[in-house]
């Protein structure tokens, strides 16, 4: 087979030489044959004729030789590509339109797939991630005492059965470290939490992950510079050390290698930099990239309350565990061993759980367990992926329609080529080559579109780190769908285009009128596009109306012209008295700003997706569960939450810890059992303070716009991290520079978190809804536009094709308006057929959106009928233009045209 390869290669690489040889060989043959005939006494011209005749046409024979050499395929492929490019140059408008349409479809798909890849599909950037597992426990009882914290849920809790908890205590980790039964390496982490970081200049916020000494060793990631932690770095007497992420090193340290050994301050505590992580390792959970890593014991120095490494702290559950399985250990075995170990620890040794609590440990691979933003984004992204799939379908159908119309226009050319002996497969291959070339061009352009799209999409998620840089997988995806699309929209015109030719090649004139089958096919393409556009519009209609509903929800407070920011002076080791003074001074200075009418603060900003709640015993009443918020002076006045009865907090109550509380109307209605709740008391337990209800305020949304208002209790703010609310008369963001200056004057060392307006804050909590509404609306409009362009193209083509017929009909007395009605009628038949398929499909497929909707059902009649009306109007316009052209046909011109 070697000779075969050489032969083919030579034919391709040294094409000209091979051709020349073929030429020479035949010339020699003809010469010999002619000479033979002449020697038998035949005249020279006749001899030459006979020689040619014997070869059955030298050119045909040469072509057969080329085929025999096996070069024909490659050769003709090159020919086809050249021919296709020539065709494209000859019809630049068609080419541009087709490439643009394909680029839109492929760009949308590539963009959404890139995000899906980052959020859902990509595996951990560590060695052999399949052997990394994360344990989680659940029990029928709650441990007592119990102190639990986590930064994100894991295991995608389904809500059925007891919740899986991924946080374990520090003693449990040390126990696992000394047990080598199932894990070859085990590590634990908490966070990422935000620490204020300063190198030389101002403090910035850095997302910091607290990790055990064996973290990098367990994950088997290497440092790009310096070293990573060893077990010695994570001990009570070790110096505080930090490993920087590659991104932080590049951004904040200008990729300076001298950073190794230097000191940075985290919450004012000095840490020495020992290494920089490799660029590909950014964190364990998708969308939760870390800026730096610090050892568990170093955190003790930061004075963070929930970090606890003392041996007796058995009831603090705050560490997520990641273990690398020993070779040969199955997950089932890991589960059994871990369950036994956890029972030893939590039931037998520390006795935080009773024996009948049925404590069980589950394990999942780290990829699955550490969901990060996947929980939040996976569903919307799959929905969008479905949407872009539909868009791709429409673009393919659209381009197929264009190609069909074009192949009809090229009927004469194709018929001629068939007549002179070109094989049908050859012509089909040529038409397919054209389609695939178009698709690949579209794919290239779409890839560029996608990069722009991804940038604007990730900008919406500014608060998560999404690194959607294109990699070879994305490129492969784009290439594959381009090729697939090219085959899809190319194959049908190729089949139809050549079939008619064969039947009608005898009469070139008739070959110009397309067959009924093609017309039927073009129409069904449009019907399909209208149907799919209906589905897209229905989905986007529901999502847009959801967003509108959410924006119009009555919040219970005035969200306009309100500036927010958060500070945590305790992170810079401010004492309680200092914090009180700082907050008082900040309020005074900010209230004095021109245009500012009120200033207050609270333990959480409203509608920031964060809240706290607790269970209490209402005296003389039931067990109650309420949301809690600590509020500063003038909170209700600043937020415009009306006081319903009783009184607000007094300055004395802010100054000293007095057990008083305000409650909202829902609290009063639900737990007051018809009475006025003023004067009622509630407490956490018999020993804790009895809170007296001194006032009732009107209801206001707390943690999220979607959630129903729950019973809420407000307490006087004492000290701690605070979120300030500043009411302004003008646009709240306009006062941000002045507010920043005051902060810089009064507390230059305290980093400021999330300075934004209340409406921006709300928009951030609605980011998924906004994302879905925006993108789906864009897709809906795109689908509608493409379907209408398709419709317009089809009808215009029809009118042009039938110019002669229309001319004859006008000449024999047809009224122009009747012709107009005829075209418009056809438009509406197509659209109504499209709706007839599209609306049932939409009612079925919008069910996937059910969980995302707010204040609207999946089968909302108003939305659906609105879409039908929009489709009819827009398609009416698309159909009217060709209809008018039909009516304006001049019979004389039409009849003379042929």
């Amino acid at each position: 087979m070697f000779s075969d390869l050489i032969c083919r290669l030579r034919a391709i690489i040294r094409r000209r030489a091979v051709e020349q040889e073929l030429e020479d060989e035949f010339a020699f043959h003809l010469e010999q044959e002619t000479a033979k005939h002449i020697s038998r006494g035949i005249s020279a011209p006749e001899a030459s004729r006979r020689a040619r005749l014997a070869l059955q046409g030298p050119e045909q024979a040469k072509e057969n030789c080329r085929d025999a050499r096996g070069v024909a395929f490659c050769d003709s492929a090159i020919q086809d590509v050249r021919y296709a490019m020539r065709q494209m140059r000859r019809a630049p408008a068609f080419t541009l339109a087709a490439v643009l349409i394909i680029a839109l479809g492929i760009g949308a798909n590539t963009a959404i797939f890139s995000l899906l890849d980052v959020v859902v599909l990509r595996t951990l950037p560590v060695r052999d991630p399949g052997h990394l597992i994360v344990p989680a426990w659940h029990a029928k009882a709650t441990p007592h005492p119990f102190d639990y914290s986590d930064f994100e849920s894991c295991f995608s809790n389904t809500g059925a059965g007891p919740e899986d908890k991924c946080s374990f205590s520090y003693p449990f980790l040390t126990m696992l470290e000394s047990n080598h039964e199932i894990f070859s390496d085990v590590t634990a982490f908490a966070g990422p939490m935000q620490l204020s970081m300063s190198a030389d200049g101002a403090a910035t916020i850095a997302d910091s992950l607290v990790v055990s000494g064996s973290f990098f060793q367990t994950l088997a990631t290497k440092p790009a510079l310096g070293r990573t932690f060893s077990r010695q770095d994570d001990s009570a007497d070790a110096a505080a050390t930090v490993v920087l992420s590659h991104a932080l090193w590049r951004k904040d340290f200008g990729s300076d290698p001298k950073v190794i050994g230097s000191t940075i301050r985290l919450n004012t505590v000095p840490f020495s930099v020992i290494g920089v992580a490799e660029p590909s390792f950014k964190g364990l959970s998708p969308g939760r990239d870390c800026a730096l890593w610090i050892p568990i014991h170093a955190v003790d120095k930061l004075g963070i309350s929930w970090v606890s490494t003392r041996p007796g702290d058995d009831h603090h559950f705050w560490l997520k565990i990641v273990g690398r399985l020993q070779p040969g250990v199955t997950t089932a075995r890991a589960k059994a061993v871990l369950t036994a170990l956890a029972r030893d620890e939590m039931v037998e040794r520390t006795k935080v759980l009773p024996r009948d609590s049925d404590l069980t440990v589950d394990v999942a691979s780290a990829d699955h367990a550490l969901t990060g933003i996947r929980d939040m984004l996976a569903r919307p992204l799959y929905i969008l992926m479905g949407g872009v799939g539909l868009i791709l379908f429409i673009t393919c159908a659209n381009v197929a329609g264009l190609m069909t119309a074009r192949s009809a226009a090229r009927q004469r050319e194709i018929a001629i080529r068939l007549t002179v002996g070109a094989g049908r497969p050859r012509i089909m291959r040529q038409l397919l080559t054209e389609s695939i070339l178009l698709a690949l061009l579209g794919g290239l352009m779409g890839f560029v579109f996608a990069q722009v799209g991804i940038r604007s999409l990730t900008a919406i998620f500014w608060w998560v780190h999404l690194d959607a840089e294109p990699d070879w997988q994305i490129l492969l995806f784009t290439a594959a769908i381009s090729l697939g699309a090219g085959l899809c929209f190319g194959v049908v015109p190729a089949v139809f285009g050549t079939k008619d030719g064969t039947q009608e090649r005898a009469t070139l004139y008739h070959a110009m009128s397309p067959s009924a089958r093609r017309q039927w096919f073009s129409r069904s393409l449009i019907v399909a596009q209208v149907a799919v556009a209906t589905v897209m519009l229905a989905g986007s209609g529901l999502l847009v109306r959801t967003l509108i509903n959410l924006k119009n929800v009555s919040l219970g407070f005035n969200a306009q012209n309100l500036l927010l920011f958060g500070i945590d002076p305790a992170s810079q080791h401010y004492q309680e008295a200092q914090i009180r003074t700082l907050y008082r001074n900040l309020r005074q200075r900010m209230a004095a700003l021109p245009g500012v009418t009120a200033v207050t603060y609270s333990s959480d900003a409203l509608l920031s997706s964060s809240s706290s709640s607790s269970g209490y015993q209402l005296e003389g009443g039931p067990h109650i569960h309420v949301n809690l918020l600590d509020v500063g002076p003038n909170f209700f006045e600043t937020m415009d939450i009306p006081m319903l009865s009783g009184r607000g907090f007094t300055p004395a109550e802010f100054a000293a810890k007095r057990p008083v509380a305000l409650v909202n109307k829902t609290f009063a209605r639900k737990y007051g059992s018809g009475r006025n709740p003023l004067g009622l008391h509630f407490s956490e337990s018999a020993k804790s303070p009895r809170y007296e209800i001194v006032g009732v305020v009107s209801d206001a949304k707390y943690s999220s716009v979607r959630a129903e208002i729950e019973p809420t209790a407000y307490f006087p703010f004492q000290a701690g991290a605070a979120h300030f609310e500043i009411r302004s008369e003008r646009n709240a963001s306009a006062i941000a520079p002045e507010v920043s200056k005051i902060l810089h004057d009064l507390a230059p060392d305290v980093p400021v978190m999330n300075m934004l307006t209340q409406t921006e804050q709300i928009d951030d909590t609605l980011v998924i809804e906004r994302l879905l509404a925006r993108i789906s609306a864009a897709f809906g409009v795109l689908a509608l536009t493409l379907a209408c362009i398709g419709l317009y193209g089809l009808l215009s083509y029809d009118v042009t094709r039938r110019t002669r017929e229309i001319g004859i009909r006008m000449a024999v007395g047809a009224m122009p308006y009747r012709l107009k009605l005829g075209v418009l009628g056809e438009t509406f038949v197509i659209v109504i057929l499209g709706l007839a398929f599209g609306i049932p499909a939409a009612t079925f497929s919008t069910r996937a959106l059910a969980a995302m909707l707010y204040g609207i059902g999946t089968n909302d009649a108003a939305t659906f009928s609105g879409i039908a009306v929009v489709l009819l109007i827009v398609s009416g316009i698309a159909g009217y233009l060709p209809a008018r052209r039909a009516a304006l046909v001049d019979p004389m011109v039409a009849l003379r045209s042929e």
Binding site: M1, F2, S3, D4, C7, R8, E21, D24, E25, F26, F28, H29, E31, Q32, E33, K36, A54, L55, Q56, G57, Q60, A61, K62, N64, C65, D67, A68, R69, G70
Partner: protein, 110 residues
């Protein structure tokens, strides 16, 4: 008048070419002349299919081609058998004989 020349059955042209080249290298025209000569003009080699067959056999590695000068001082493309081609000739001759014998015995049977 001689009988009308027989058209070659499918696949036999390759065998005849290999056989013709078994003695010495030849150019295409000579091969066609030789085959007709040997078969006493009974077999008509279609010249149109001779050359594609030569190129096909070259690609398969049974023939090797080179350019040389003829007795009349003209450049021509000479084909010769390769080792693989010789082996192929033996194998095909054998199977052809078997086929011919089998067909003959069927024809003679009744």
């Amino acid at each position: 008048m001689p009988d009308k020349p027989i058209d070659l059955p499918q696949g036999t042209l390759d065998l005849l070419i290999l056989k013709a080249l078994a003695l010495e290298p030849m150019h295409g025209w000579a091969i066609s002349e030789r085959i007709q000569q040997i078969s006493s003009e009974a077999v008509q080699v279609q010249q149109g299919s001779l050359y594609p067959a030569l190129h096909r056999l070259e690609r398969r590695g049974w023939l090797r081609a080179h350019w040389a000068t003829t007795a009349s001082n003209r450049r021509a493309k000479y084909y010769e058998l390769t080792a693989a081609g010789r082996k192929q000739l033996t194998a095909e001759t054998k199977s052809w004989r078997r086929l011919a014998a089998a067909v003959a015995s069927i024809l003679d049977a009744v």
